[in-house]
Symmetry: C2
Subunit: 217 residues, 2 copies
DNA sequence: TAGATTGTTAATCGATTAACAATC
DNA sequence: TAGATTGTTAATCGATTAACAATC
Protein backbone atom coordinates (compact mmCIF):
# COMPACT_ATOMS: atom_id res chain seq x y z
CA UNK A 1 0.00 0.00 0.00
CA UNK A 2 2.98 2.26 -0.43
CA UNK A 3 1.95 5.54 -1.95
CA UNK A 4 4.12 7.34 -4.46
CA UNK A 5 6.28 10.18 -3.13
CA UNK A 6 4.10 13.28 -3.11
CA UNK A 7 5.70 16.57 -4.09
CA UNK A 8 6.22 19.27 -1.45
CA UNK A 9 4.14 21.66 -3.53
CA UNK A 10 1.10 19.43 -3.09
CA UNK A 11 1.67 18.95 0.65
CA UNK A 12 1.91 22.67 1.21
CA UNK A 13 -1.51 23.16 -0.35
CA UNK A 14 -3.29 20.53 1.76
CA UNK A 15 -3.62 22.64 4.92
CA UNK A 16 -5.27 25.36 2.92
CA UNK A 17 -7.81 22.94 1.45
CA UNK A 18 -8.36 21.69 4.97
CA UNK A 19 -9.03 25.19 6.22
CA UNK A 20 -11.49 26.07 3.44
CA UNK A 21 -13.33 22.79 3.88
CA UNK A 22 -13.49 23.41 7.63
CA UNK A 23 -15.12 26.76 7.00
CA UNK A 24 -17.62 25.25 4.57
CA UNK A 25 -18.39 22.65 7.17
CA UNK A 26 -19.10 25.32 9.76
CA UNK A 27 -21.45 26.95 7.29
CA UNK A 28 -23.29 23.66 6.87
CA UNK A 29 -22.29 23.24 3.24
CA UNK A 30 -22.76 19.57 2.43
CA UNK A 31 -21.23 19.19 -1.01
CA UNK A 32 -18.86 21.18 -3.20
CA UNK A 33 -17.47 20.78 -6.69
CA UNK A 34 -13.85 21.36 -7.62
CA UNK A 35 -15.13 24.23 -9.79
CA UNK A 36 -16.83 26.00 -6.91
CA UNK A 37 -13.92 25.43 -4.56
CA UNK A 38 -11.54 26.72 -7.21
CA UNK A 39 -13.52 29.96 -7.39
CA UNK A 40 -13.33 30.50 -3.67
CA UNK A 41 -9.69 29.56 -3.29
CA UNK A 42 -8.49 31.13 -6.51
CA UNK A 43 -6.70 28.07 -7.77
CA UNK A 44 -7.65 25.99 -10.80
CA UNK A 45 -10.20 23.20 -10.47
CA UNK A 46 -7.77 21.01 -12.33
CA UNK A 47 -5.15 21.51 -9.66
CA UNK A 48 -7.58 20.64 -6.89
CA UNK A 49 -8.57 17.40 -8.60
CA UNK A 50 -4.97 16.50 -9.40
CA UNK A 51 -3.86 17.21 -5.84
CA UNK A 52 -6.60 15.12 -4.29
CA UNK A 53 -6.13 12.26 -6.68
CA UNK A 54 -2.60 11.82 -5.41
CA UNK A 55 -4.25 10.27 -2.38
CA UNK A 56 -7.30 8.60 -3.84
CA UNK A 57 -10.67 9.37 -5.35
CA UNK A 58 -12.64 11.27 -2.74
CA UNK A 59 -15.33 12.59 -5.06
CA UNK A 60 -18.17 11.32 -7.13
CA UNK A 61 -18.82 12.06 -10.78
CA UNK A 62 -21.78 14.32 -11.35
CA UNK A 63 -21.90 15.26 -7.67
CA UNK A 64 -18.60 16.65 -6.49
CA UNK A 65 -17.15 16.16 -3.04
CA UNK A 66 -18.83 15.64 0.28
CA UNK A 67 -17.43 18.42 2.42
CA UNK A 68 -17.38 16.58 5.73
CA UNK A 69 -15.84 13.46 4.24
CA UNK A 70 -13.17 15.32 2.27
CA UNK A 71 -12.28 17.48 5.27
CA UNK A 72 -11.86 14.44 7.40
CA UNK A 73 -9.79 12.58 4.80
CA UNK A 74 -7.40 15.49 4.31
CA UNK A 75 -7.08 15.65 8.08
CA UNK A 76 -6.05 12.02 8.10
CA UNK A 77 -3.57 12.55 5.26
CA UNK A 78 -1.99 15.34 7.27
CA UNK A 79 -1.92 13.13 10.33
CA UNK A 80 -4.12 15.46 12.36
CA UNK A 81 -5.99 12.48 13.78
CA UNK A 82 -2.80 11.32 15.49
CA UNK A 83 -1.82 12.91 18.79
CA UNK A 84 1.75 14.15 19.12
CA UNK A 85 3.55 15.27 22.24
CA UNK A 86 5.51 18.47 21.85
CA UNK A 87 7.97 20.41 23.98
CA UNK A 88 9.21 23.93 23.44
CA UNK A 89 12.86 24.74 23.93
CA UNK A 90 13.39 28.44 24.50
CA UNK A 91 10.90 30.23 26.74
CA UNK A 92 11.57 33.73 25.46
CA UNK A 93 8.83 35.92 24.05
CA UNK A 94 8.24 33.79 21.01
CA UNK A 95 8.43 30.50 22.90
CA UNK A 96 5.91 31.71 25.44
CA UNK A 97 3.66 33.09 22.73
CA UNK A 98 3.67 29.72 21.00
CA UNK A 99 3.01 27.98 24.32
CA UNK A 100 -0.22 29.92 24.46
CA UNK A 101 -1.24 28.79 21.03
CA UNK A 102 -3.88 26.18 20.66
CA UNK A 103 -2.07 23.55 18.66
CA UNK A 104 -4.03 20.77 20.30
CA UNK A 105 -6.65 21.13 17.61
CA UNK A 106 -4.13 19.98 15.02
CA UNK A 107 -2.99 17.15 17.27
CA UNK A 108 -0.03 18.63 19.13
CA UNK A 109 -0.04 18.52 22.94
CA UNK A 110 2.45 20.69 24.74
CA UNK A 111 3.91 18.72 27.62
CA UNK A 112 6.92 20.79 28.64
CA UNK A 113 8.91 23.97 28.13
CA UNK A 114 12.66 24.31 28.60
CA UNK A 115 14.99 27.23 29.09
CA UNK A 116 18.34 28.08 30.65
CA UNK A 117 17.18 31.20 32.43
CA UNK A 118 16.99 30.35 36.18
CA UNK A 119 14.40 33.09 36.73
CA UNK A 120 11.93 31.05 34.68
CA UNK A 121 12.44 27.88 36.72
CA UNK A 122 9.13 26.42 37.83
CA UNK A 123 7.11 29.16 36.14
CA UNK A 124 4.10 27.83 34.26
CA UNK A 125 2.63 28.93 30.96
CA UNK A 126 -0.95 27.82 30.44
CA UNK A 127 -0.39 25.16 33.08
CA UNK A 128 2.77 23.84 31.45
CA UNK A 129 5.87 24.01 33.58
CA UNK A 130 9.13 25.55 32.46
CA UNK A 131 12.05 23.25 33.24
CA UNK A 132 15.75 24.00 33.19
CA UNK A 133 17.69 22.71 30.21
CA UNK A 134 19.72 20.27 32.31
CA UNK A 135 16.50 18.34 32.85
CA UNK A 136 15.96 17.83 29.12
CA UNK A 137 17.64 14.45 28.66
CA UNK A 138 15.86 12.91 31.60
CA UNK A 139 12.55 14.35 30.48
CA UNK A 140 12.94 12.96 26.97
CA UNK A 141 13.96 9.59 28.39
CA UNK A 142 10.87 9.38 30.59
CA UNK A 143 8.27 11.00 28.32
CA UNK A 144 7.18 10.37 24.79
CA UNK A 145 8.40 13.50 22.99
CA UNK A 146 7.53 13.50 19.29
CA UNK A 147 8.22 17.06 18.25
CA UNK A 148 10.43 19.85 19.54
CA UNK A 149 9.63 23.49 18.89
CA UNK A 150 12.92 25.33 18.87
CA UNK A 151 12.78 29.01 19.80
CA UNK A 152 16.30 29.69 21.00
CA UNK A 153 18.85 32.20 19.70
CA UNK A 154 20.72 31.34 16.54
CA UNK A 155 24.05 30.42 18.10
CA UNK A 156 22.48 27.81 20.39
CA UNK A 157 20.14 26.35 17.82
CA UNK A 158 22.60 24.31 15.78
CA UNK A 159 24.13 22.75 18.87
CA UNK A 160 20.79 21.95 20.46
CA UNK A 161 19.52 20.58 17.16
CA UNK A 162 22.46 18.21 17.06
CA UNK A 163 21.86 17.16 20.64
CA UNK A 164 18.17 16.57 19.97
CA UNK A 165 19.07 14.20 17.20
CA UNK A 166 21.39 12.32 19.53
CA UNK A 167 18.71 11.80 22.15
CA UNK A 168 16.32 10.47 19.54
CA UNK A 169 14.11 13.39 18.54
CA UNK A 170 12.87 12.97 14.98
CA UNK A 171 10.93 16.17 14.30
CA UNK A 172 11.88 19.79 14.91
CA UNK A 173 9.84 22.91 14.30
CA UNK A 174 12.63 25.43 14.04
CA UNK A 175 12.19 29.17 14.56
CA UNK A 176 15.89 29.97 14.91
CA UNK A 177 17.23 31.90 11.92
CA UNK A 178 19.65 29.21 10.87
CA UNK A 179 19.71 25.86 9.11
CA UNK A 180 19.96 22.96 11.52
CA UNK A 181 22.66 20.56 10.57
CA UNK A 182 20.85 17.32 11.34
CA UNK A 183 20.66 14.13 9.34
CA UNK A 184 18.00 13.21 6.83
CA UNK A 185 16.31 11.06 9.46
CA UNK A 186 15.11 14.12 11.34
CA UNK A 187 12.35 16.16 9.79
CA UNK A 188 12.81 19.84 10.23
CA UNK A 189 10.28 22.50 9.39
CA UNK A 190 11.78 25.97 9.43
CA UNK A 191 9.84 29.14 10.17
CA UNK A 192 12.23 31.92 9.31
CA UNK A 193 10.36 35.08 10.18
CA UNK A 194 13.01 37.50 9.02
CA UNK A 195 13.23 35.74 5.67
CA UNK A 196 9.49 36.07 5.33
CA UNK A 197 9.80 39.77 6.07
CA UNK A 198 12.57 40.13 3.50
CA UNK A 199 10.40 38.70 0.75
CA UNK A 200 7.67 41.13 1.77
CA UNK A 201 10.24 43.90 1.51
CA UNK A 202 11.13 42.74 -1.99
CA UNK A 203 7.53 42.57 -3.15
CA UNK A 204 6.71 45.91 -1.62
CA UNK A 205 9.52 47.56 -3.51
CA UNK A 206 8.79 45.68 -6.73
CA UNK A 207 5.23 46.95 -6.58
CA UNK A 208 6.30 50.54 -6.10
CA UNK A 209 8.91 50.37 -8.81
CA UNK A 210 6.24 49.15 -11.18
CA UNK A 211 3.99 52.05 -10.18
CA UNK A 212 6.67 54.56 -10.99
CA UNK A 213 7.25 52.98 -14.35
CA UNK A 214 3.64 52.87 -15.42
CA UNK A 215 3.37 56.47 -14.26
CA UNK A 216 6.29 57.37 -16.43
CA UNK A 217 4.72 56.29 -19.74
CA UNK B 1 15.49 49.58 -16.96
CA UNK B 2 12.50 47.43 -16.21
CA UNK B 3 13.59 44.01 -15.10
CA UNK B 4 11.72 40.91 -16.15
CA UNK B 5 9.26 39.49 -13.62
CA UNK B 6 11.23 37.24 -11.29
CA UNK B 7 9.61 34.02 -10.15
CA UNK B 8 8.56 33.63 -6.52
CA UNK B 9 10.79 30.57 -6.22
CA UNK B 10 13.86 32.71 -6.88
CA UNK B 11 12.77 35.46 -4.47
CA UNK B 12 12.22 32.96 -1.69
CA UNK B 13 15.81 31.77 -2.04
CA UNK B 14 17.39 35.21 -1.88
CA UNK B 15 17.13 35.66 1.91
CA UNK B 16 18.93 32.37 2.38
CA UNK B 17 21.78 33.40 0.09
CA UNK B 18 21.88 36.66 2.02
CA UNK B 19 22.16 34.82 5.30
CA UNK B 20 24.95 32.50 4.15
CA UNK B 21 26.88 35.36 2.66
CA UNK B 22 26.46 37.31 5.89
CA UNK B 23 27.97 34.43 7.80
CA UNK B 24 30.87 34.15 5.37
CA UNK B 25 31.41 37.87 5.76
CA UNK B 26 31.57 37.51 9.54
CA UNK B 27 34.17 34.79 9.08
CA UNK B 28 36.23 37.14 6.92
CA UNK B 29 35.81 35.08 3.77
CA UNK B 30 36.58 37.39 0.88
CA UNK B 31 35.59 35.39 -2.17
CA UNK B 32 33.47 32.35 -2.91
CA UNK B 33 32.65 30.33 -6.00
CA UNK B 34 29.18 29.09 -6.84
CA UNK B 35 30.60 25.59 -6.45
CA UNK B 36 31.76 26.16 -2.89
CA UNK B 37 28.57 27.96 -1.92
CA UNK B 38 26.54 25.15 -3.43
CA UNK B 39 28.33 22.64 -1.20
CA UNK B 40 27.58 24.64 1.91
CA UNK B 41 23.97 25.41 1.06
CA UNK B 42 23.17 22.08 -0.53
CA UNK B 43 21.77 23.51 -3.71
CA UNK B 44 23.27 23.22 -7.18
CA UNK B 45 25.90 25.68 -8.35
CA UNK B 46 23.88 26.03 -11.50
CA UNK B 47 20.88 27.25 -9.57
CA UNK B 48 22.93 29.80 -7.70
CA UNK B 49 24.33 31.23 -10.91
CA UNK B 50 20.93 31.22 -12.61
CA UNK B 51 19.29 32.90 -9.64
CA UNK B 52 21.89 35.64 -9.40
CA UNK B 53 21.92 36.27 -13.12
CA UNK B 54 18.28 37.24 -12.98
CA UNK B 55 19.55 40.45 -11.45
CA UNK B 56 22.88 40.92 -13.17
CA UNK B 57 26.38 39.54 -13.30
CA UNK B 58 27.83 39.87 -9.84
CA UNK B 59 30.76 37.50 -10.34
CA UNK B 60 33.93 37.29 -12.29
CA UNK B 61 35.08 34.42 -14.46
CA UNK B 62 37.93 32.45 -12.98
CA UNK B 63 37.48 34.16 -9.62
CA UNK B 64 33.97 33.67 -8.33
CA UNK B 65 32.04 36.19 -6.27
CA UNK B 66 33.26 38.81 -3.85
CA UNK B 67 31.39 37.99 -0.65
CA UNK B 68 30.95 41.52 0.65
CA UNK B 69 29.83 42.87 -2.69
CA UNK B 70 27.38 40.05 -3.39
CA UNK B 71 25.94 40.26 0.13
CA UNK B 72 25.38 43.95 -0.27
CA UNK B 73 23.84 43.57 -3.73
CA UNK B 74 21.37 40.93 -2.59
CA UNK B 75 20.48 43.20 0.31
CA UNK B 76 19.68 45.95 -2.17
CA UNK B 77 17.61 43.59 -4.32
CA UNK B 78 15.59 42.66 -1.25
CA UNK B 79 15.20 46.32 -0.37
CA UNK B 80 16.94 45.96 2.97
CA UNK B 81 18.73 49.23 2.41
CA UNK B 82 15.39 51.05 2.48
CA UNK B 83 13.84 51.90 5.84
CA UNK B 84 10.19 50.98 6.37
CA UNK B 85 7.90 52.01 9.17
CA UNK B 86 5.83 49.22 10.63
CA UNK B 87 2.99 48.96 13.10
CA UNK B 88 1.66 45.85 14.79
CA UNK B 89 -2.07 45.35 15.13
CA UNK B 90 -2.89 42.85 17.85
CA UNK B 91 -0.84 43.04 21.06
CA UNK B 92 -1.51 39.51 22.24
CA UNK B 93 1.28 37.08 22.99
CA UNK B 94 2.44 36.80 19.41
CA UNK B 95 2.15 40.50 18.70
CA UNK B 96 4.20 41.35 21.76
CA UNK B 97 6.75 38.68 20.94
CA UNK B 98 7.17 40.16 17.48
CA UNK B 99 7.42 43.65 18.97
CA UNK B 100 10.50 42.42 20.81
CA UNK B 101 12.09 41.15 17.64
CA UNK B 102 14.89 43.08 16.08
CA UNK B 103 13.53 43.68 12.63
CA UNK B 104 15.38 46.98 12.36
CA UNK B 105 18.34 45.12 10.94
CA UNK B 106 16.30 44.22 7.88
CA UNK B 107 14.99 47.76 7.58
CA UNK B 108 11.73 47.66 9.51
CA UNK B 109 11.15 50.17 12.31
CA UNK B 110 8.31 49.53 14.69
CA UNK B 111 6.55 52.81 15.38
CA UNK B 112 3.30 51.70 17.02
CA UNK B 113 1.25 48.83 18.39
CA UNK B 114 -2.54 48.68 18.39
CA UNK B 115 -5.07 46.62 20.29
CA UNK B 116 -8.65 46.80 21.50
CA UNK B 117 -7.94 45.61 25.03
CA UNK B 118 -8.27 48.67 27.32
CA UNK B 119 -5.97 47.08 29.88
CA UNK B 120 -3.10 47.45 27.41
CA UNK B 121 -3.74 51.16 26.85
CA UNK B 122 -0.54 53.15 27.24
CA UNK B 123 1.55 50.09 28.01
CA UNK B 124 4.87 50.07 26.21
CA UNK B 125 6.78 47.21 24.62
CA UNK B 126 10.44 47.92 24.08
CA UNK B 127 9.62 51.62 24.27
CA UNK B 128 6.83 51.41 21.72
CA UNK B 129 3.44 52.47 22.98
CA UNK B 130 0.31 50.38 22.64
CA UNK B 131 -2.57 52.49 21.31
CA UNK B 132 -6.25 51.69 21.20
CA UNK B 133 -7.66 50.67 17.83
CA UNK B 134 -9.84 53.78 17.56
CA UNK B 135 -6.63 55.77 17.20
CA UNK B 136 -5.52 53.81 14.15
CA UNK B 137 -6.92 56.00 11.39
CA UNK B 138 -5.52 59.17 12.89
CA UNK B 139 -2.16 57.52 13.44
CA UNK B 140 -1.96 56.31 9.86
CA UNK B 141 -2.99 59.74 8.61
CA UNK B 142 -0.26 61.47 10.59
CA UNK B 143 2.55 58.93 10.32
CA UNK B 144 4.20 57.19 7.42
CA UNK B 145 3.09 53.59 7.88
CA UNK B 146 4.50 51.27 5.23
CA UNK B 147 3.79 47.83 6.62
CA UNK B 148 1.25 46.40 9.05
CA UNK B 149 1.94 43.25 11.02
CA UNK B 150 -1.41 41.65 11.69
CA UNK B 151 -1.62 39.44 14.78
CA UNK B 152 -5.31 39.48 15.58
CA UNK B 153 -7.76 36.59 15.83
CA UNK B 154 -9.09 35.13 12.64
CA UNK B 155 -12.55 36.65 12.74
CA UNK B 156 -11.20 40.21 13.02
CA UNK B 157 -8.42 39.80 10.49
CA UNK B 158 -10.45 39.93 7.29
CA UNK B 159 -12.33 43.02 8.38
CA UNK B 160 -9.22 44.83 9.56
CA UNK B 161 -7.41 43.84 6.37
CA UNK B 162 -10.18 45.42 4.35
CA UNK B 163 -10.05 48.56 6.46
CA UNK B 164 -6.28 48.79 6.13
CA UNK B 165 -6.64 48.76 2.39
CA UNK B 166 -9.15 51.59 2.59
CA UNK B 167 -6.86 53.79 4.63
CA UNK B 168 -4.05 53.28 2.17
CA UNK B 169 -1.89 50.52 3.63
CA UNK B 170 -0.12 48.63 0.84
CA UNK B 171 1.74 45.84 2.68
CA UNK B 172 0.52 43.41 5.31
CA UNK B 173 2.45 40.73 7.16
CA UNK B 174 -0.41 38.49 8.16
CA UNK B 175 -0.26 35.99 11.01
CA UNK B 176 -4.00 35.39 11.25
CA UNK B 177 -4.99 31.92 10.05
CA UNK B 178 -7.08 33.17 7.16
CA UNK B 179 -6.70 34.62 3.69
CA UNK B 180 -7.14 38.38 3.60
CA UNK B 181 -9.53 39.45 0.94
CA UNK B 182 -7.68 42.52 -0.29
CA UNK B 183 -7.03 43.71 -3.81
CA UNK B 184 -3.97 42.95 -5.91
CA UNK B 185 -2.58 46.37 -5.05
CA UNK B 186 -1.85 45.29 -1.50
CA UNK B 187 1.00 42.89 -0.96
CA UNK B 188 0.29 40.32 1.68
CA UNK B 189 2.77 37.90 3.13
CA UNK B 190 1.10 35.16 5.15
CA UNK B 191 2.73 33.33 8.04
CA UNK B 192 0.34 30.52 8.82
CA UNK B 193 1.89 28.75 11.78
CA UNK B 194 -0.68 26.01 12.06
CA UNK B 195 -0.32 25.20 8.37
CA UNK B 196 3.42 24.94 8.88
CA UNK B 197 2.82 22.56 11.76
CA UNK B 198 0.42 20.48 9.66
CA UNK B 199 3.05 19.94 6.98
CA UNK B 200 5.47 18.88 9.72
CA UNK B 201 2.83 16.46 10.92
CA UNK B 202 2.52 15.05 7.41
CA UNK B 203 6.25 14.63 6.94
CA UNK B 204 6.67 13.09 10.36
CA UNK B 205 4.07 10.46 9.59
CA UNK B 206 5.36 9.88 6.06
CA UNK B 207 8.80 9.20 7.51
CA UNK B 208 7.50 6.70 10.02
CA UNK B 209 5.32 4.94 7.47
CA UNK B 210 8.37 4.47 5.28
CA UNK B 211 10.29 2.99 8.23
CA UNK B 212 7.61 0.41 8.83
CA UNK B 213 7.62 -0.56 5.19
CA UNK B 214 11.34 -1.00 4.85
CA UNK B 215 11.25 -2.98 8.07
CA UNK B 216 8.63 -5.23 6.58
CA UNK B 217 10.75 -6.47 3.67
C1' DT C 1 -31.98 9.19 -19.44
C1' DA C 2 -29.53 13.77 -19.58
C1' DG C 3 -26.59 16.71 -17.11
C1' DA C 4 -22.91 17.32 -14.21
C1' DT C 5 -18.55 16.54 -12.56
C1' DT C 6 -15.05 13.54 -11.46
C1' DG C 7 -10.61 10.87 -12.41
C1' DT C 8 -7.05 10.69 -15.52
C1' DT C 9 -4.42 11.23 -19.70
C1' DA C 10 -2.24 14.51 -22.75
C1' DA C 11 -0.38 19.16 -23.66
C1' DT C 12 1.76 23.07 -21.97
C1' DC C 13 4.37 25.70 -19.27
C1' DG C 14 8.02 26.85 -16.13
C1' DA C 15 11.86 25.72 -13.24
C1' DT C 16 16.00 23.17 -12.57
C1' DT C 17 20.10 21.11 -14.17
C1' DA C 18 23.78 20.31 -17.48
C1' DA C 19 26.99 21.88 -20.66
C1' DC C 20 30.16 24.90 -22.55
C1' DA C 21 31.92 29.05 -24.78
C1' DA C 22 33.43 33.43 -22.96
C1' DT C 23 36.71 35.56 -20.19
C1' DC C 24 39.11 36.83 -16.06
C1' DT D 1 49.50 31.51 -20.96
C1' DA D 2 46.82 27.88 -18.43
C1' DG D 3 43.40 27.13 -15.11
C1' DA D 4 39.30 28.38 -13.06
C1' DT D 5 34.82 29.86 -12.96
C1' DT D 6 31.37 32.67 -14.61
C1' DG D 7 27.27 33.88 -17.67
C1' DT D 8 24.21 31.85 -20.67
C1' DT D 9 22.20 28.63 -23.85
C1' DA D 10 20.31 24.05 -24.35
C1' DA D 11 18.36 19.82 -22.32
C1' DT D 12 15.77 17.78 -18.87
C1' DC D 13 12.69 17.38 -15.52
C1' DG D 14 8.54 18.32 -12.95
C1' DA D 15 4.39 20.83 -12.07
C1' DT D 16 0.32 22.98 -13.82
C1' DT D 17 -3.40 23.31 -16.96
C1' DA D 18 -6.49 21.59 -20.47
C1' DA D 19 -9.27 18.15 -22.33
C1' DC D 20 -12.29 14.44 -22.28
C1' DA D 21 -13.88 9.73 -21.52
C1' DA D 22 -15.88 7.46 -17.57
C1' DT D 23 -19.61 7.43 -14.57
C1' DC D 24 -22.63 8.97 -10.97
Amino acid sequence: MKQREISAAVIRRLPRYYRYLGELLQNDVVRISSKELSNRMRVTASQIRQDLNNFGGFGQQGYGYNVEYLHSEIGKILGLDVQHNMIIIGAGNLGQALANYNFEKVGFNLIGIFDTNPRLKGVSVRGIEIYMMDMLDEFVATHQVDVVTLTVPKRQAVEIGHHLEEIGIRAIWNFAPTDLNVSEDVCVKNVHLNESLMTLSYEYRAMHTQDEESGRD
